[in-house]
């Protein structure tokens, strides 16, 4: 082949991908039915989807829809929680119920031969749950523990603040109920919510896979034909956008090796005419590994393992987010590049090549997403729940292909708003505050439990002179009741400090340390049995004496020390 190899080969003849139209009908009680026959493999997927979700929870019963859905499979008139789990798993099948902000869905999937069993179990879970008291108590306990657990995850902390900042008091502004909300849940409330939400005129039933239309319709009629319609009054809160200037919110995670960055603003809902241009714009800017922010922050600058933007559109409004987890020291530089990219896509039109690449990506992966029954079913569920046109799946690629360079710049200008973004950082506040401060008009700092901290505690006070900490220090460390000698020699240049830490475990290199007034903070990297261990040193220097703490991942609690400077 030789020189032929120099350029990428041309594609073969394109192979068309024709998704047949689903069969649609509505039962007399208002239940919409969608049947999509796909006989490739002996599998079926069913979804009973309701047009109401967590956002409809009344203020005094936050979390009730999600709890009610989860509890549907925890005991019914015919089966205990355990019997139901055993029955489903004995068929090798799955039955789940869950909710999101806008919707609630009961899902089942199984081998075709067990399809009728699953239809019966869906009806049992929907119409005959007993919400047993002991299961509800366990659910509440576990949910509360999980909520606590999630507070150790930087992503959760970042998402929690982001939602609050861009959606404000609207239910979209809370990504989970609070432990106190969960505490308050009661069986009566769950049953009331089930009655309000579970109306045929508030639902769509979707069957996908190895199903025969007529047979399927008979089963649907059998289980859901007598279901009585009711007054559908889904509570909808107004969504507004009150942000007028960029703000910085830091969740302090002292000692964190990385900073999670989320830069976000509110944007358009799922049904908005700008949906397709937004999809394409987001693809060019940051949705994938060949997008602008990834190429810039990861490939060129190496600040992070991945940098992305995300466009998430819900029923009433959406969010645009730029996110990355970066090395703590690269926080400020990463923000600079993020803002550069956010402004560039607004101020300059994208190249025709970039547009074409984004379009061919989005149209090309579409069949890949529809390859599995799960993937196809999700596409159909979204189409129905958001009320998208009946030919949405068939015209998707055409709609993506119609987006122009002008559309991209217009939606970037309208829907990315650097002048009102919420900038959320989760990481070591002391380190990242100074790097990020200049990007916002206001600053707030929280601990991981949501407690607000004083910003000034994290700032270097400019009027306090930087203490001289240079020299050789003899430290006495309290280790399990006995005193251990540790030596530390420091070299100071302005407010930065480097040097050596010598412990009984060996010698460690101190680098990147800081002096703030009388406070010194530094880390020493030591090699112990082939593992690299970081010691974190925090001290206060008064003349020739120092007091502070030494901590490391291998030590359960930080050790306190006192020391003197050698003459």
């Amino acid at each position: 082949m030789g020189e032929n190899r120099a350029t990428a080969p041309a594609p073969l003849e394109p192979v068309p991908f024709n998704i047949p139209n689903a069969f649609r009908t509505t039962l007399p009680n208002g239940l919409r039915v969608v049947i999509f026959d796909d006989e490739r493999l002996p599998l079926v997927s069913y979804r009973m989807a309701f047009l109401s979700g967590d956002a409809a929870d009344p203020e005094e019963r936050r979390g009730v829809t999600s709890a009610m859905m989860s509890m549907l499979t925890e005991g019914t008139e015919a089966y205990s929680s355990r019997e139901l789990a055993e029955k489903i798993e004995r068929l090798g099948a799955s039955l789940n119920a869950s909710s999101s902000d806008d919707f609630s869905v009961v899902s089942a999937s199984s081998l075709t031969i067990y399809g009728p069993d699953m239809m019966q179990l869906i009806a049992e879970a929907m119409f005959a749950p007993t919400f047993p008291e002991d299961e509800l108590v366990l659910f509440k306990k576990n949910t509360i523990e999980n909520l606590k657990f999630q507070r150790s995850q930087p992503n959760f902390l970042a998402n929690e603040q982001t939602a609050r900042l861009i959606f404000g008091k609207h239910p979209y502004g809370r990504i989970s109920p609070s432990p106190a909300d969960i505490e308050k849940l009661e069986r009566g409330g769950l049953e009331a919510t089930r009655k309000t939400n579970f109306l045929p005129n508030n639902a769509v039933f979707i069957a996908v896979g190895d199903v025969r239309k007529d047979e399927m319709l008979m089963q649907i009629e059998e289980h859901f034909g007598d279901w009585e319609a009711g007054d559908r009054h889904v509570h909808k809160s107004e969504l507004s956008n009150e942000r007028i200037s960029p703000s910085l919110t830091i969740v302090d995670r002292p000692g964190s090796a990385q900073a999670n960055i989320v830069i976000s603003n509110q944007t358009v809902p799922r049904n908005h005419p700008d949906y397709f241009p937004m999809l394409v714009m987001n693809q060019i800017l940051g949705a994938g590994a060949s997008s602008r922010v990834f190429m810039n922050l990861r490939e060129e600058k190496g600040y992070t393992y991945g940098a992305y933007t995300r466009f998430d559109a819900k029923m009433l409004g959406g969010s645009f987010e730029a996110t990355a987890e970066v090395r703590t020291a690269a926080t400020g530089d990463s923000l600079k590049e993020f803002f550069y990219e956010l402004n560039r896509i607004r101020d300059e039109s994208v190249l025709a090549d970039e547009l074409n690449d984004a379009i061919s990506y989005l149209t090309g992966v579409f069949p890949i997403r529809a390859e599995t029954q799960e993937g196809l079913t999700n596409l159909l569920v979204n189409q129905e729940l958001y009320g998208l046109p009946h030919d949405y799946l068939q015209s998707y690629r055409e709609n993506v292909g119609a987006v122009t360079v002008e559309d991209v710049q217009r939606v970037a200008k309208e829907h990315i708003r650097p002048e009102q973004v919420a900038l959320v950082l989760v990481g070591d506040a002391r380190e990242i505050l100074k790097q990020a401060r200049s990007y916002a008009d206001s600053v707030e700092i929280f601990d991981k439990d949501g407690g607000e901290k004083k910003v000034t505690d994290y700032e270097k006070s400019s009027d306090e002179p930087t203490t001289n900490v240079a020299g050789d220090w003899n430290l006495s460390l309290n280790f399990m009741g006995s005193d251990v000698e540790v030596k530390m020699s420091l070299v100071q240049d302005g407010d930065s400090v480097s040097g050596k830490l010598t412990t009984m475990l060996g010698e460690g290199e101190i680098s990147g340390g800081r002096v703030t007034g009388k406070d010194i903070s530094a880390t020493a990297l030591t090699e112990i049995q082939g593992q690299s261990i970081e010691f974190i040193i925090n001290g206060v220097v008064t003349d020739d004496s120092m007091a502070g703490t030494l901590s490391a991942a291998i030590i359960p609690d930080s050790l306190s020390f006192t020391g003197v400077r050698q003459a």
């Binding site: 073969l12 798993e89 090798g92 657990f149 150790s152 000692g255 987890e325 890949i368 359960p556």
Partner: protein
């Protein structure tokens, strides 16, 4: 119950340079998956040279003679495809799923880097940094992020098995560009790889494209043979790990078990399903329900060509007695060792196996991956058509005996995770 799955269409052949090729044609959706599996994983690394297999997974995206740095992603994405690469103890894999008409592009990209990867000092430095960043993100900065690497080192005695795929950062720092070039020459040779196509393609066109792109890549002498043999005892039965990010204490139990696809491994894989898979599993019903002592329960088998392992772990609720939770786990294990699974449990396992197999067949990429493993590990890609039967044939008494021989024993590793930070 009787369940006949039509066999997948499998054609296997070898190029002149030793590249093993497997074609699985399926026209259901106009999509084609291309998977290249190299027979190199952390098991091939020796002391002082750890992390190379995984570093290479990064290097493979840094450009080759005709593809610029990071061009691989770009080409794939622009063509509407998806791709990735992963490293395990057993192999390093690279795969793409493409619109059917873009098969030539995928083959061009995979062959260009097999033929002419740019192993330069600059790429090496740059990817060392990326690996360090990945380590910070995926291991050091995650609660419980390091526990699976630690317990592997407790279970296995043989260095080839015991060390992690992410490897030692010091080893990576010590690597010279010559070391890395040599690693590439030896392990990234056509005769050390398997190429699988699954999905919509014309067989004759595919064969001719494969020959055109891969046929003239030179083969290399076979890489040095390795020894992954292990004594049956675990290396270390207890360790405490202070995790500065863990919000709650946790523990992980691990056992050393026979290699994948042995009757014992298959029986233990199924025993694992009974113990920890799903809401009706024994341990879920005992610990998450029942005692209500556990917040998160997890378990899995680590499937290797050599000695493999099985794990059960739990994050208990606060203030729980961890040793009593472990006693409950051991009681269930003893019960299976004594009585074997029930008839209901066997029915459950069978239905789940059938369901999992049918689901795996839906996507071209999961088919390609399974086929590649059977081809690389067993020399027989058509095993994909027999794996279900193999597992369905496991008898309750084999499960009982395997659990009795391998799990109901003191020969196991226990890792206690102690939160040591602010959580």
């Amino acid at each position: 119950m009787n369940f006949e799955l039509p066999p997948l269409d499998i054609e296997e052949y070898k190029l002149g340079n030793g590249l093993r090729v497997v074609l699985n044609r399926d026209l259901a959706v106009p999509v084609v998956a291309v998977a290249v599996y190299y027979d190199v994983g952390s098991r091939n690394e020796r002391e002082g040279r750890t992390g190379f297999a995984h570093l290479f997974e990064h290097m493979m995206f840094q450009g080759s003679a005709n593809v610029p740095k990071a061009g691989h992603f770009q080409y794939i994405m622009k063509a509407g495809g998806t791709m990735n690469g992963t490293t395990s103890s057993e192999r390093t894999n690279y795969y793409e799923t493409m619109p059917a008409d873009q098969l030539p592009l995928a083959l061009w990209l995979e062959s260009d880097r097999m033929r002419s990867l740019a192993v330069t000092q600059e790429n090496l430095d740059n990817q060392r940094d990326a690996v360090k960043e990945e380590k910070r993100l995926r291991y050091d900065n995650q609660p419980y992020g390091q526990i699976f690497d630690i317990i592997s080192s407790m279970i296995y005695k043989n260095f080839a098995n015991a060390h992690s795929t992410i490897g030692s950062m010091e080893d990576l720092d010590d690597a010279t560009v010559e070391d890395v070039q040599e690693f590439f020459r030896m392990y990234y040779a056509p005769n050390n790889a398997v190429l699988v196509l699954s999905g919509a393609f014309d067989t004759e066109i595919a064969k001719s494209l494969i020959e055109q792109h891969f046929g003239d890549i030179s083969s290399q002498p076979a890489p040095p043979s390795i020894d992954v043999a292990e004594p049956s005892e675990v290396a270390d039965d207890y360790r405490e790990w202070h995790d500065p990010l863990a919000p709650l204490p946790a523990f992980l139990l691990g056992w050393k078990i026979p290699p994948r696809r042995t009757p014992e491994f298959n029986a233990l894989f199924l025993a694992g399903k009974l113990l920890y898979d799903g809401d009706s599993s024994r341990l879920y019903q005992k610990l998450v329900k029942g005692e209500e002592s556990v917040l998160q329960l997890f378990g899995f088998t680590d499937e290797r060509r050599g000695p493999s392992s099985i794990y059960v772990g739990a994050i208990p609720k606060p203030e729980q007695d961890l040793s009593s939770i472990r006693a409950t786990i051991m009681t269930e294990i003893e019960s299976i060792a004594a009585h074997g699974p029930s008839a209901d449990e066997m029915q459950k396992i069978h239905n789940q196996l059938i369901n999992d197999t049918v689901r795996m067949r839906q996507a071209s990429i999961t088919r390609a991956q399974q086929i590649a493993e059977y081809s690389l590990y067993d020399g027989d890609p058509s095993l994909i058509n027999h794996e279900l039967d193999e597992l369905l044939a496991v008898r309750p008494d084999q499960i009982r005996k395997a659990v009795s021989d391998f799990l109901d024993t003191e020969n196991r590793s226990l890792l206690d995770v102690v939160p040591s930070g602010q959580g």
